[in-house]
Symmetry: C2
Subunit: 479 residues, 2 copies
Amino acid sequence: MVTGELSGATSGEREMAKRKRVLIVGGDAAGMSAASQLRRMADPGDVEIVAFERGPRTSYARCGLPYLLERLVESHDDLIARTPAEFAQRHIDARVHHEVTSIDTEARTMVVRNLDSGTEVTEEWDECVLATGATGVKPPIEGIDTPGVFQLRTIEESAALDRWIAEGARTAVVVGAGYIGVEVTEALLERGLSVTTVDAAGAVMGGAFDSDIGALVGERMRRAGVDLRLGAAVEGFLGDSGRLRSVVVGGEEIPADLAVFGLGVRPNTALAEAAGIALGEHGGIVVDDHMRTPVDGVWSAGDCVESTHRITGDKVVIALGTHANKQGRVCGTNLGGGDVTFPGVIGTAITRFGDLEIARSGLSESEAQRVGTSVVTSTSSTQTRAGYYPGASGITTKLVVRKSDGVLLGAQIVGGEGAGKRIDALATAIWASMTVGDLAMADLSYAPPFSPVFDPVVLAAGIATTRWDEARRKSPRER
Amino acid sequence: MVTGELSGATSGEREMAKRKRVLIVGGDAAGMSAASQLRRMADPGDVEIVAFERGPRTSYARCGLPYLLERLVESHDDLIARTPAEFAQRHIDARVHHEVTSIDTEARTMVVRNLDSGTEVTEEWDECVLATGATGVKPPIEGIDTPGVFQLRTIEESAALDRWIAEGARTAVVVGAGYIGVEVTEALLERGLSVTTVDAAGAVMGGAFDSDIGALVGERMRRAGVDLRLGAAVEGFLGDSGRLRSVVVGGEEIPADLAVFGLGVRPNTALAEAAGIALGEHGGIVVDDHMRTPVDGVWSAGDCVESTHRITGDKVVIALGTHANKQGRVCGTNLGGGDVTFPGVIGTAITRFGDLEIARSGLSESEAQRVGTSVVTSTSSTQTRAGYYPGASGITTKLVVRKSDGVLLGAQIVGGEGAGKRIDALATAIWASMTVGDLAMADLSYAPPFSPVFDPVVLAAGIATTRWDEARRKSPRER
């Protein structure tokens, strides 16, 4: 506890002691988690916490935006975790419409502009946290600023897209068939639009899933009526009277009342860069496992940092709320005098398209090839429940196993209700460096409403063990 | 492969070589898994496999019986995994209505009675597998054989119970509030009966769950209209004109048109005992991790054996289809010349009552106390999905953590749709001896349709880590 050294002091002496000032740049998941955790550890009399957010609100669930668009979530208010007023009650001064324009790490100051009044103030800090998040990738395609071309990164963008649909949009092009692209495609379909989804890669979910598994998602999308264009590039957006009219894809003009970008994100690092804080080779802010940047007194967490992949040891930039929250907590704990580490990521992710659940963890086969690890893979199909039990549906599981020792490196799941969250048992096994042989005999739960007598995870591990064993016998020396 | 040594032989020489004869006693999960696995490894020309089953059918899903009773499963045919005719196609001679009455382990013979003809034959074997299963516990209570008092261990018993209901039964007493008792209670409620469920223990699911978690299940049962009598003994069954009229519970006469026993099972070991095959202190057949009994040439698997609990090292008898299948496979592989082990169990189990999912793994707090392990526990409540996402429901998770090192020893979950199968991530962590601190930072999946940003497993592990840390500071030397 940072208050420890003052515990014997009188109240008068306490007021005399310098109150530490922690400024947080960015008022979303990582920043406000850091603030909240620090507040749990440090009294307001000892540590002042101020968070600056350039947008109009703090702490909201960005991952919920596709479901807001789909109207599964009623109001954007439902997505707001905590308002500035709620933070104020916890003695955290969260200021929206405040943009940090520069940071001086020598003087330990930052310039903050009030976006409502336009005034700028120089704020002093003892420690600061960069939680500047990420911005959706928007490639320099002709006509990209035509009205009717959207991203889905903020509540405002979601509301604008919603209005556009309400005003009569009937056809849409979604650019990108990754997580966001797939989720937005579903939302637009559910809103009654005809949707063309375009991806430059040859498969759906190309970056995260192997193409054989991505193909299962693609099939399901096509069955739902999506015009899926894979291996095709978006070449331009054509407008008409100041509104989008069509999207040029592979030379063909596809009529579209609206288009949505879902090409992933890149870290917001301009501020850090200008302040001389190191960026890594993947463009994220460099932090150690305590969430410290190389600059004394400057911390960072969330979508703007590079994390360590536990399997490859490589640095990766993965923008995901769950990491942002954990990293924010770690940062806040350490700021408050604690000593905890963020142990890295293994790329676990989950989404769904209609009733199809889609999940992955660890390395895909193509990722393993890219990093030069020799692997054995196996794909198995079974059911989510006992075959005779109502609601049983298909589940396909692909496992990636290190050839040298049988350790599970990666898993991909596609299947019906109850399939997706099974990735967590596999992610836990990957986290713990278990072999597939060990997992195949693990005591996982069984009852007819929940799984066949061989649970899909156990079955997949068993089949992978057999494949691994065969491969090892065939070429024992290859690694 | 057992065929290896004969691979150079001509077909004439092969016929001359002695064909190994493997007899299997019991034609359900363990026995037929052993048979099937052995057949995968050994050609019919080298190994003859005969299975004797005293009942009318092979390999059916006993765990599905409550759902057959509930009419969630349409026909008992749906529960049958494989018929003798199907086994015959795979060169496995499965003979139903054949009871093994004695085994001579010196002479390597067994006496088999054909229950249809009444004739007895002495069969020779080179190796045999005891897969005799278990029988429902039926305590010596007055009137227990009164028509209207049922168990639910076979399709025949299920059919008889079904007829009894169809003939107009309106009130029921379920004896035992463990897994089967809870499942049967639900089935009878769904069939429109008034149900009183009685358990001598003070809590629902008393053997497997701590009473604080069992209480949540009890509440749900009461809300569904169950008259739950805990800490009450069944003292007698009173009949009228040869039919059950009432059940005497704690001195009170409860009107009942039918009663069902769900008091767990005990291993069927009479045959083994008579043959001089060792039983363990829990009454199951003793086997090593290869599923060999101490008697040369005699193997055993399934509900009739004692397994090793991986955490306590103790022997336990757990009758569960998933263990029976795995043990059968291990047995079959080793019989076929392979070398695999069954690594033991950690007591993972799952069931549901209505929309309440109930799951556990590892040690409960009371089990840990019983074996003298000092633990820290924590209970956390959150939701199965993001709070704003449709269908989010409550989930309560109790974790049991070893005080000396923070290793996760046990987990109990009660909650709505999607809660139960989360036990598998916890079971995997228990299996891998992970600490709660490690699990709290594990990269488990997150997306709004599947979990809050802190998944219930991660959240539970985080809170448990804090509790464990506090407890360790308070009494660092206690173990």
